[in-house]
Symmetry: D2
Subunit: 478 residues, 4 copies
């Protein structure tokens, strides 16, 4: 019987966004950007462009490289474009949820691509439907476009600002009209967003790896609470919202972002390695080798090894050709699970005391299989070290976490978890150690999934009066 692989036992980011203003090959650049951001969402992807007052959109299910042929790219003329990768949340994998969503409203057309999650989407949605609005998807994005359409501001950028003034939660947004691009990042700055330049065009993307691929110059982060308007007059920056405390998602560094991306002012690669070092200092253990769970544990394992002096061995080997389904025999070999993806190198492990490093544990089932695989390969001891704290609380700002019931750490003690995964020892990086490691920025991260301290009231009461008087008064020096 063919089995679908169990949902990867990892947390999931929900999206990646890209925008280009002012480049004759805008759609192609967005395509490349989405390609570089494929890790942020593999369910669906889309690109919208604007050409001479007309807008175009192409959407599809699957990977960017499969959806977009050169024929489809040709259907996307214009030098303004935005794009979106979406992650597949179980059960609602449908084309109606693909973005960018392109709509017509009183003032014309707009397209929107959104990374993040609104905390008060349900309340707003309720209020909007009370006034007669209709919703065709379960996306937060549809809430935002309704708010923009309802705004009484004249200028599009002001409509966006008025709309965003009413929402709470996480958003890194790219919007497009017939003639301009507007991007915005929520005041807490949960999700990353950066700005670059190529041949006179502006590029906006979730991660800096996009700039590297298209050889754009990386300019800077879009700031928390910043709204950028890019049009024929160039780029204008606004900070129309009450300033909030910065609360970057630490999980971007732990797992989501590409290691070669510069986000929140640091390369993810460096942060991961420091986490490994911090973990080595905090939870040392006598052992013979340090082994990463590839590829999520690679860099923290490297850091752990460097700090502890225990040799680093890539003793778990990935099969690079893992497909989406896989036909398991009826018997007697059952429950392949992680085996089709990973295999242990017996020679390295046999008779050794092994430290396995990963970035997180979700349900514990994968860790349990890995520990068993390592033990079957002859390990004398198996110590598991996790480069982040136990995940105890759900995320409301754009990460797809399982129910608390499914999060092993939220229902079990450390000892119970250790027992479940059958490790000889198990340690997580402590929250304070992780944050301290971030230096002077240590207070600027959201750690709600670890400690339940939600920076935005998850009941969603509004508290962000908009400062429309500021419009246009600031010009950024980029």
């Amino acid at each position: 019987m063919p089995i679908e692989f169990p949902a990867n036992d990892k947390f999931h980011e929900e999206c990646g966004v890209v925008a280009v203003y002012g480049h004759p090959e805008a759609a192609n650049l967005v395509y490349l950007g989405l390609y570089a951001l494929q890790h942020r969402g593999q369910e669906s992807a889309g690109i919208a462009t604007s050409d001479r007052g007309k807008m175009y959109v192409e959407l599809g299910m699957g990977l960017v490289a499969d959806i977009f042929t050169s024929q489809r790219i040709k259907k996307l003329p214009g030098n303004i474009a935005i794009g979106h990768n979406r992650y597949s949340t179980a059960g609602v994998s449908q084309i109606v949820n693909a973005q960018p969503c392109l709509i017509n409203y009183a003032k014309g057309s707009m397209a929107l691509a959104h990374n993040g999650n609104l905390v008060n989407a349900d309340q707003i949605r309720e209020a909007l439907v009370d006034e007669g609005a209709i919703f065709q998807s379960s996306n937060d994005s549809e809430v935002i476009v309704h708010l923009i359409a309802h705004s009484h501001q004249e200028l599009f950028v002001n409509r966006v600002i008025e709309a965003l003034a009413g929402v709470q939660g996480a958003y890194s947004l790219a919007l497009m009209t017939e003639h301009e691009v507007v991007v915005a990042r929520d005041p807490h700055g949960f999700r990353p967003l950066c700005l670059g330049r190529l041949d006179g065009a502006y590029i906006v993307a979730s991660e800096s790896c996009v700039m590297d691929l298209i050889e754009a110059e990386y300019l800077r982060e879009v700031e928390p609470g910043e709204v950028l308007l890019i049009n024929e007059d160039g780029l204008q920056s606004f900070f129309p919202f009450h300033r909030q405390e910065t609360r970057r998602c630490i999980f971007e560094h732990i797992y989501f972002a590409r290691p070669d991306s510069l986000i929140f002012g640091e390369y993810t690669y460096s942060v991961r390695k420091r986490m490994g070092k911090a973990l080595a200092n905090q939870s040392p253990v006598e052992a013979d080798i340090v082994v990463p769970v590839p590829d999520s544990g690679n860099l923290s394992a490297l850091g752990y090894s460097e700090e502890s002096g225990i040799p680093f061995e890539m003793a778990l080997i990935r099969n690079h050709y893992v497909g989406r389904t896989f036909i398991e025999p009826q018997s007697p070999i059952r429950h392949f699970g992680v085996k089709v993806k990973l295999n242990a190198v017996k020679k390295l492990i046999s008779g050794k005391r092994v430290i396995i490093i990963d970035d997180s544990i979700v349900r514990g089932t994968t860790s349990r299989k890995i520990v068993k695989m390592v033990r079957d390969a002859g390990a004398k001891e198996v110590h598991v070290r996790i480069s982040s704290p136990p995940t105890l609380f759900p995320c409301f700002y754009g990460i797809d976490t399982p129910n608390r019931d499914e999060l092993i750490a939220s229902r079990h003690t450390l000892e119970e978890t250790r027992n479940f995964i059958t490790a000889d020892s198990l340690e997580y990086l402590h929250l304070e150690n992780m944050l301290n490691m971030m230096g002077e920025d240590s207070g600027k991260f959201c750690s709600a999934c670890f400690d339940g301290q939600y920076p935005v009231d998850i009941d969603g009461r509004g508290h962000q009066p908009v400062q429309l008087q500021l419009f246009g008064s600031e010009t950024p020096d980029v």
Copy 2:
């Protein structure tokens, strides 16, 4: 170079709809119904179902049998279902236009499938966007769901009625909520819609051939201006709108509907044959054989032959395996056009005076190629007889007609057209003859595409005060 076949040189219906209430295999029955209505639209198809208060939808591009696997049908639980086939209008072949459209609004969820075209959609859309509504497709259907969502009526059926009171044009609609089905046909009755019964369930469909396929009992037409509510209390009928003159689309009989369908009180088969007979009486010509353009001209040719006594020969043979694209050689054989679809049987044609019968001429290019093919096969004379009047005006009620500029008859005299298609003679069935042929119903048809007499003001000024006081006071005896 591969060429896409030129848009079939025919007029196009825009949709087929099916609804089922109260059958455990509702989705499967709708699937079968769409299968039987495939001729009404081949661009996209969709099915929505309702199960225990939850709604499901599956949409896809292409043919019903290709879109729906048994796996997809299984994702559509429940004993209420509606479905839709959509025709591909050039250039906007996109998944966002696929129906049924499923939306959430203040009072819950609804799904809608629509056949027809509203005359005042643009005005309503404008008014709605002025109030802040947003539109994600170019479908009239989105206008209707907005109106329903905006209605202040409590009962869903009354919301639908209030919404429809504001629209003008053609609609045969199937709507579904969590617990009921509502169907409606516009007061002029432009598009067909019929009601049937199977195992205690109600079936609604564009044409009666659906009832034949699923072995449902055909009950009756849904009347012009009738609204049906089907729920756990059974079926209720309402006539809430001001009565209008019936204006059935005569093109349903001429070309769109299946010959085995009973619509507007007659089998299309019989009407087509009568048209052929009327044509024979009106425009006789001495000839040796009567040849239909398959399959659109089959039945009128049969009628022409019977009436004239000139033998019927199927001397144009269809290739049953015509695909969507086809690779033409560079040279020296060019312009295959109709040749890959049709071939003439030389033996039958050589040396003969041939009457070619078709149902209509659109641009004239196909007719010209057919006349050439018949002449190349050795015909001594080629007389073309068309079983409907010249199409001079565009349709605003659900048929995709080319621009007037492209309608050969609207820019050319009969003689010029004859000359263009290189026939020895050309005659169309006269409008009065066609209508007379319909007997006592002759006044109940829309003939706007022939005479420009549009039954609904195409400027779209409203004139249908709703009679809400009538609600529930009538119960149909079905």
Copy 3:
């Protein structure tokens, strides 16, 4: 549950072949030819070409228009090409059986496309494997290429002749080397094959409809027992085999060939109509309408109607969108069978005495369903008339017939068959009437499937001494 349609309840031709010599767009012309011959085989198709001493082949499963993109056609350079359509015999639908088969042997390369069936293939195969030959498919064609490879003749055409001298049965063959095309038709001439000319190039094809599509001039049939060599010296004709009695397959006229094809000296259309007339004379019955089973019964029904004076009505309507699979509901509507393909027009049938005309009955199950459908539509009487004799014996010359056990006529009396299909009366066209109808050619047809008189000893003892001395001595005047 999705059901595959039962094997169409018809007999099946096994193949169509096309060859082109001397045209710069050889592959494209072969593609068009296969397109026109799609009715002769839908399982797989292939094209091989020859360019500057190198050969190319592209094969695929499915329909010609789906297999060949312009990209694949571009991979087939050269001005020599042959092509093949193959019918899907149940169970062995595999790419290894697709043709043309392209092989390398002592003298170079050759490609072969074969329509027909050899009677002594098994004996030859046995002899060849005894000498060490290996076989990779179950095709007779592989037997022929082995024989050609084993021949000690120098010239390719002579190798082919020597090979064919040893085989018995039906073959219409197209072969190609780096520099020439050789075509051959067996001495009995079971399968059709014709010759045409386009822009100086020679075209060979199973049916003349290929010439019509590509606008080639139809020259003549390839004669029974004729071998044609086409190379830079032009076309040479040989008759190297002992002359045999001509035994054309009458089923080509009854069912397989396209009505617009000229084969065996007659248009299939005319023959079918004459069969209907003969049937009317032989087995008249008082009735109100004559109804064909579309499309196989169309022309004989037309003939029957003309001869009997009973009106012709196309009262069984085909669904043009029948796909390969179709999802049947679990209950209570079962056994759709023919219903998804055909529907009866009730109005025409109700209360009438109906004559249903088809070309043949295989298992009887389809006829039974059609009779039931017509009766359900209200027919007062249902008379079935079949325009060919009862099929009692299997074909060994290229038609896929069911086992004798499955042929209803071979195990049941006429009365039992009538009873099974629930008709009021049933008559087949008598063999002598059918043959008489062919006029002076009446003795030149194979009627083995009706009378068991197999023109070629089906035990396969050889009896065709080759006349190699004749080589090259005859030049045809084409």
Copy 4:
């Protein structure tokens, strides 16, 4: 314009083979085995099984997980199975070359799956075609099945031995008849092949990672020159050929085999790491970080780092979602090449002296791009170290190498190559150091691609008299 990625700038293995005897889920186990061996060939894959005297085969183009659905696995009954993965050699990617090839010959049926390359295939092929054999593919495998079919030995295993006695070159073969499996490895043992056991069944596979995945017990290597017969009597081992010097392909360790595979008595992982250490000793350089080209350089970089004490950094990041094509913009960003696959982490590299480690250089173009990428990221110095010697000669034993003209090292001095790739220094591991590193086995490897010393005369003169008298006299103790 969409561009196909340039052929990966690596050498390519041609195949992986798997065989199972005596397991009720034989096809499923072979499927899993092919899944684990996917790195050995991605063009096509196939599985053949044997059940009650009948053989089945399913072939397809593409990846194992895409070709084989559970439906296709179900078409492969029986408890004997063999399977094959094939690498795509440019230009001949065709289904006719897919394996296993299944043939019928005088003694019944056989299927064959072959990894390797015969040196005298052309001569044998020539001799065979002179005797009338025909060839349908360009595979060496077809040569072998012909030889087996021509053998006059009675027992299948002896036919195989007689056939192999005539061939020279590299082969790791799995053969199957209706009732047995025969596997063979050439006397030099160029390609790996190992034996395992699961639930009483025997498993044979190219690499031991297959045993790990299906949880079979690894028994031992199939020895160079060994022939195994596995049937209902169990397993028998033969050494029928003259003993030859063992000549394992060192490139299996350098690049082809999975690091978790035990081949030639060692884990590839360990060998690669030792190569890195040897390279560090041989060619040290003062630098700040050691960076692997992922994943081919990972382990040698780790070894280099350990030995040199220079920190290991994974500063080149792979995009895990690289597809087969990719749409490049027209301008001004051109020549993405390696950029879509790799990106440099600037932070790590900027201002550093960087050692880049890879396993080999083929054309030099990829290395050049990587050096440029590292330099653009700010490296102060870029030193390239290659963990194998310069590849100067083509391989005739199963590896797809470019022409000598394309091998940069064969036409350029070390200094010229260094200059071309723009590195500050470039060093290869010297051949003697590499071989020394293999310890007492150092003489047992083929190093022809480095030194041109071909262990088998590449002119293909035979020199392996078969020792048929030995048949059956040896029984291996496994």
